[in-house]
């Protein structure tokens, strides 16, 4: 073959999108796998809780868990998800930043409520299996939420640096998906830790 270029034209050449592709990009698909594996983690975590709860000899709960902090917490999480949805629907950078900042503040308030709740508990992670489960589940959820807060902060910084427009905004949709997952996991944790005890 010689070194000269030979152009071979296919039947119908058509333009293809290049690079940051939103829902067609690999970053988005990668986040789906992250969410699947992390959702599995919460599945096993809640399975472990319920397994120990069902199998225990005697009383599982030392006291009925109060929703004083948890209910406002989970409502804040749901509100943060709505803020993300509102912020990421439009191409406007101001609205994006407002939505993500609101979500960030809701998330931070959730962290504060969680710490307050931990502080006021009559039992510790060492008291019994219920105490161990309660603290480890809420702590693992909190760790995921803190990662989410860092990601929200990064999106805010990148938005202020002018990195996003209506075509290039992969981090926005990827971080939004992660945040919705963290909220969903928080809701699942709420149901198992605070609602199911009332069902038996």
């Amino acid at each position: 073959m010689s070194d000269t270029a030979i152009e071979a034209t296919p039947s119908a050449p058509r333009p293809l999108a290049v690079g940051g592709l939103g829902y067609a990009g690999v970053g988005w698909w990668g986040m789906i796998t992250v969410i699947v594996t992390e959702a599995s983690l919460f599945g096993y975590l809640l399975f472990a809780y319920l397994y120990d709860a069902v199998k225990v000899d005697g009383e599982w709960l030392t006291a009925m868990p109060s929703v004083r902090f948890a209910l406002p917490g989970v409502l804040l999480l749901l509100a943060s998800s709505l803020a993300i949805l509102w912020g990421s629907r439009a191409g406007a950078p101001e609205r994006l930043r407002a939505g993500f900042l609101a979500a960030l503040l809701c998330g931070a308030a959730f962290v504060a409520l969680q710490l307050l709740e931990w502080h006021g508990k009559a039992f510790s992670i060492r008291s019994d299996a219920y105490g161990s489960m309660f603290y480890i589940i809420t702590a693992i959820h909190l760790a995921h939420l803190l990662a989410g807060l860092l990601a929200l902060a990064l999106v805010l910084v990148w938005s202020m640096l002018g990195y996003f427009d209506s075509r290039r905004h992969d981090p926005v949709i990827i971080v939004a998906a992660y945040w919705h997952f963290v909220v969903g996991a928080g809701a699942a944790v709420f149901i198992v830790l605070y609602v199911t005890p009332h069902l038996w």
Binding site: M1, S2, D3, T4, A5, I6, E7, A8, T9, P10, P13, R14, P15, L16, A17, V18, G19, G20, L21, A24, G25, V26, W29, G30, T33, V34, V36, T37, S40, L41, G43, Y44, L45, F47, A48, Y51, D52, K55, V56, W60, I125, R126, D128, A129, Y130, G131, S132, M133, I136, L150, L154, W158, G162, Y163, D165, R167, R168, H169, D170, P171
Partner: protein, 648 residues
């Protein structure tokens, strides 16, 4: 900085030397140690994976030989009970976690983009990360063994013996944290495989044209991201119990020891399939080359691969038949374990039919693949036997189970892997392995394996328990154990012959050319070793056997790796649609990066800090890791991740 356009009509060209030179400049990893440490080339990473996995295989093999010396006859005391415990636990940990899965990841890393007609994996830097973490976690898990506190509770590490009161040393902590660390490698690797297969196949490679090995690794990867969290969580909870006085598994405070077994085997059994399905895929792809015909029953084999995995999620309790679970649970899991033989057997019939209907060429690789069928059937039958609850009650905890699991793991992992080395070594190195030495290699391994493990069925039926460090005379086990020990050394000699062959052939093996076996899939269309960019133009695929189309005459269409999209505006490859493999978008691919290595260093500091309770080190390592991730994910203009500056 050059602007990246939003879309462009790719240039369709015929591959020429000039284009190849240009692509070489774009894709070549810089020479030297810096290039090696920052490389994201899937071929380099794949070979590193395979070499590292073989190093662990040799370590695990030496451990096995020491144990066999102890068991060569009755009342031997070469090892103390504690040393023996650490040896069998480390042997299991090494072979199952540090050899069996990583070696398959190595082959898949190397072969996938070449088979799929792409220029790299979907996430090249993530690929480097999964390798570095694998190495770091492997060293971490071996560090305890090296200083005399290796894991000592078997590879499945049951509580309460693994709990602090019964096991106060650091043994289990090394294992627990190391497994969590290794889990990160497995998970990111699996995520990478999944997205790669979904997004970066060559145009025209619809799902029904993917090589079976791709199906195997795809299935295993899907399983991994679903089940690895179970074992990571189990080890994390155990570590908490041991170090912080929690009570997850402590029955005196409301915990459940059986929770460990559930979490472990929910992971463990799917994992067993994950370490064999890709290897079965290699046989499905490579055995037909030596039978000179396509695989019989492509569709049933592909579907049964997936079906085996799905059923594999529902059989974990067959490891727990003797733990006093209710009869209903035992019946269900026994039934599921028996049914799973149906999809497993599909591949066996397909391979047998392929040999039967083909014109077999008896190469070393053919011998390894065809003998694998025999070993698979024997290992499958012994597994089928123990799927029955009453038989399991009789045989559990005996050498029968040891025989079964070695037939399965050596038979369906090591034998296909060695066969695969004979097949793809020429692609990786441009040189063929020596066939004469190869025949010696095969027969030594095969006879050694049979001598070592066939008698173990009988040893188990005669009641010898597993994991005992020595045994008394007059139990009727002496001769059987002697034969097993002799066989183990013959098997080891066989593996040694493989290494000799590899080292010799690297220097003076016959040159292979692009397609020494006349294979049918895309990796055989590129030179050996393949260039850094894999394909000069993105290939177009119109059938399952792109290089056999002239012979098979299935249709008038022809696949081509000569004419196609050039994609040379920096590192680029093509994204295609999920099912049909239609051209969809142009992906910008990252170049060399130190971020994966730096992240691994940070994580290693984090885990060492946790192990030693040096919280400052854990915090510092965590901070380095976080900073690496932020730097890694920071949008880059060259990767088209940043909006264009507004042109006023």
């Amino acid at each position: 900085m050059e602007d990246i356009e939003f879309e462009r009509i790719p240039r369709y060209v015929s591959a020429t030397a000039a284009y190849r030179r240009g692509l070489g400049v774009i894709w070549e990893t810089p020479p030297g140690i810096g290039g090696w440490l920052s490389s994201v080339d899937h071929k380099k990473i794949g070979i590193c994976y395979i070499v590292t996995a073989f190093a662990f295989l040799i370590l695990g093999g030496i451990e096995a030989l020491v144990m066999r010396l102890q068991l060569i006859g009755p009342d031997r005391h070469l090892l103390t009970p504690e040393q023996y415990d650490q040896l069998f636990s480390t042997h299991g940990m090494t072979m199952i976690f540090l050899y069996a899965m990583p070696v398959l990841s190595g082959f898949s890393n190397y072969l996938w983009p070449l088979m799929l007609g792409s220029r790299d994996m979907a996430f090249p830097r993530l690929n480097a990360l999964s390798y570095w973490i694998y190495v770091a976690a492997g060293l971490f898990m071996y560090a305890g063994f090296a200083i005399g506190v290796g894991p000592n509770d078997g590879w499945f590490n049951y509580v309460p013996y693994a709990s602090r009161p019964y096991n106060p040393g650091m043994n289990i902590d090394f294992y627990a944290l190391g497994m969590i660390y290794l889990g990160i490698s497995t998970t990111v690797g699996a995520a990478n495989f999944l997205v790669t297969v979904m997004r970066t196949r060559a145009p025209g490679m619809s799902v029904n044209r993917m090589p079976i090995m791709v199906w195997g690794t795809l299935t295993a990867s899907a399983a991994n991201i679903l089940v690895v969290p179970a074992v990571s969580l189990a080890f994390f909870l155990l570590w908490m119990d041991r170090q912080f006085g929690t009570h997850f598994f402590d029955v005196s405070a409301g915990g459940q020891p059986l929770l460990w077994q559930h979490l472990f085997w929910m992971f463990g059994h799917p994992w067993v399939y994950a370490v064999v399905l890709p290897a079965m895929g290699m046989v499905s792809d490579a055995l037909p080359i030596f039978c000179r015909r396509p695989l019989v029953g492509y569709t049933p084999v592909a579907l049964s691969t997936v079906a085996t995995m799905i059923l594999g999620f529902g059989v974990w309790v067959h490891h727990m038949f003797a733990t006093g679970l209710p009869n209903l649970a035992l019946s269900f899991f026994s039934g599921a374990s028996i049914i799973i033989t149906v999809p497993s057997a599909v591949a066996v019939f397909a391979w047998t039919a392929t040999i039967w209907l083909g014109r077999p060429v008896i190469t070393t690789a053919f011998l390894f693949f065809s003998s694998m069928i025999v070993l698979f059937v024997i290992g499958g039958v012994s597994g089928f036997m123990t799927a029955s609850v009453p038989v399991d009650w009789q045989l559990t905890q005996t050498y029968f189970v040891v025989a079964h699991l070695h037939y399965v793991l050596i038979g369906i992992n090591l034998f296909p892997v060695v066969g695969a080395i004979y097949v793809w070594f020429p692609k990786m190195t441009s040189r063929l392995l020596d066939e004469r030495l190869g025949q010696w290699n095969f027969w030594t391994m095969f006879i050694g394996f049979k001598l070592a493990f066939l008698p173990m069925h009988l040893t188990g039926l005669r009641g010898m328990p597993r994991r005992i460090y020595t045994f008394p005379d007059h139990m009727g086990w002496n001769i059987l154990n002697l034969v097993s020990t002799v066989g183990a050394f013959v098997l080891a000699a066989g593996v040694l012959l493989l290494l000799v062959n590899v080292i010799q052939s690297l220097r003076s093996g016959r040159l292979a050319g692009a397609n020494p076996w006349d294979g049918a899939t895309l990796e055989w269309s590129v030179p050996s070793p393949p260039p850094s960019y894999n394909f000069a133009v993105i290939p177009t695929v119109v059938s399952r056997h792109p290089l056999w189309e002239d012979r098979l005459q299935e249709s008038a269409d022809r696949s081509t790796a000569i004419e196609g999209m050039l994609l040379d505006h920096g590192r680029e490859t093509l994204a295609t649609t999920l099912l049909d493999g239609d051209a969809d978008a142009i992906l910008k691919m990252p170049g060399e990066s130190y971020a994966p290595l730096l992240l691994t260093v940070g994580l290693s500091g984090f885990f060492v800090g946790l192990l030693l309770h040096q919280w400052w080190l854990a915090a510092f390592g965590g901070a380095v890791a976080t900073a690496s991730i932020v730097g890694w994910l920071w949008p880059e203009r060259a990767l088209a991740q940043i909006a264009q500056p507004r042109h006023v």
